[in-house]
Amino acid sequence: MLPKKLLCSPIAFFLAFFIAIIGISFVPAQVSEINAQKSKSDSLTGNAFCIQCHGNIYYGLKNPETGKIHRKMMSINGRIDPTVFKKSNHRSFQCTNCHSIEFKKFPHSEKALLEEIGSCIDCHSGDSIAEKYKFDLIDEDFQKSVHATKHSENFTCWMCHEAHSYKVNATTVEYDNSMCLSCHANANKYNLILNKSNPNIIEKHEWLPNQQAHLQNVRCIECHARVNDSILVAHNIQPKAKAVKLCVECHSTNSLLKQTLYKYQSRVQISRNGYFNAAILNKSYVIGANRNYYLNVASVVILLIVIGGIAIHIILRTTLKK
């Protein structure tokens, strides 16, 4: 048959080869055209799209009639630092994983603005992270706190754990205290929750000597949260009347600081060597809580030798001399 003949002929082979070459050279051209189109409309997919406005001090707004781009200033509140976000625990997220997909439109719709953002527990329950950090127990603890009981719906975990910079176990006193001070030293955020004057933290802690040293080296939660043995960071902020006021709670051998701030490190490091090498001293020095085991033994031994020596001397003096 002809076609069979044709197919087998060298002409057909060359024809096929020719068509194939054209085809191959055409297909990529088509694909890259689509890509080019996509990147025009969508190049700023994902976070870059939001960051172009929210990651900058200024953003450009195009006038659809004149085509002119107007420079506008992003309000401080709307600014997200992309470098900080990239270091946070949720850096792998799309903005729209937490925020409504509606935010892709600008101006943002009311619907987008009013959509509620999920809580930690909505994602972290039953997963390995939730297990590692005991989210359910933390939530239980938090629900008992003054913040939750007085302002249950408005006060979410996000109030302290700033969504775009949150990083677990930063464990610097400064980082932890900045969470509390973001409200307690900032009337604007405080008033978001409660429209009353914000008590002055410095004045309210005037009774504490060396206030600066304390507030820089002790976490607020050390005095204000009830210690919970089953979680690393107590979340039950107590009413002020129950805050720690007694100096010896910290300035003693069984300092509460050992159970809290240094729990994590201490767990690894506390040994019979006392606290000289332990984490407790890496950050600060707490009178009364710091003792060195060897130093203690040495001083007791020396003391006993001296007293023993004197006792023998007295005995010999009184019995032998006269």
Partner: protein, 202 residues
Amino acid sequence: MAQKIYYYPVWIRIWHATNALMFLLLIITGLSMQYGLFKIRFDYAVSIHNVSGIVLSVCYLYYFMANFITGNLKYYRIKFKGFFKRLWVQFVYYTVGIFKNQMPPFPLTIKRKFNPLQKFTYVSVMYIIVPLIIISGYAMLFPEIIYEKVLGIPGIVLTDLVHVCTGFIGSIFMIIHIYFCTIGSKPAANFKSLVNGYHQTE
């Protein structure tokens, strides 16, 4: 030939009384802060310790300068040649000779107020230990002057270590000091001397 020597002029007696009292207060409040002994309220202990530390340091300055001005310093001067030999002799006297009713090898005279062992301890305590206690104490009172880190160890930890160690040495000195003051013509003789100023030689 018994003789009365005016060893302790009024300024020494005033200094010594204040010094001893402050030292006692510091030891008691210090132990209370560090070990919770004596059950003194922590904030009171801190305040007492701070105040008596400051009084002690003023006292020390007074002692330091008066020692120069009055010439009392000459009793502290150590002649290095053969000093260790003399220390040993005095040590042997205290551990052996004294029980055999031997005479002290370095009897006190107008020129010699302290025997070699006394000289050694007084000089080390008054010119090394006490200054260290005072300096480290002030450093902790004003922690911003302390180096943040020394060889990777927080400066405040080292400062505290110096303070606690020298404080301990000072306390041990005080115990031994008081005991050795009972070795005189009579056990109470030296204490009487420090009240009325006169030393009775044997």
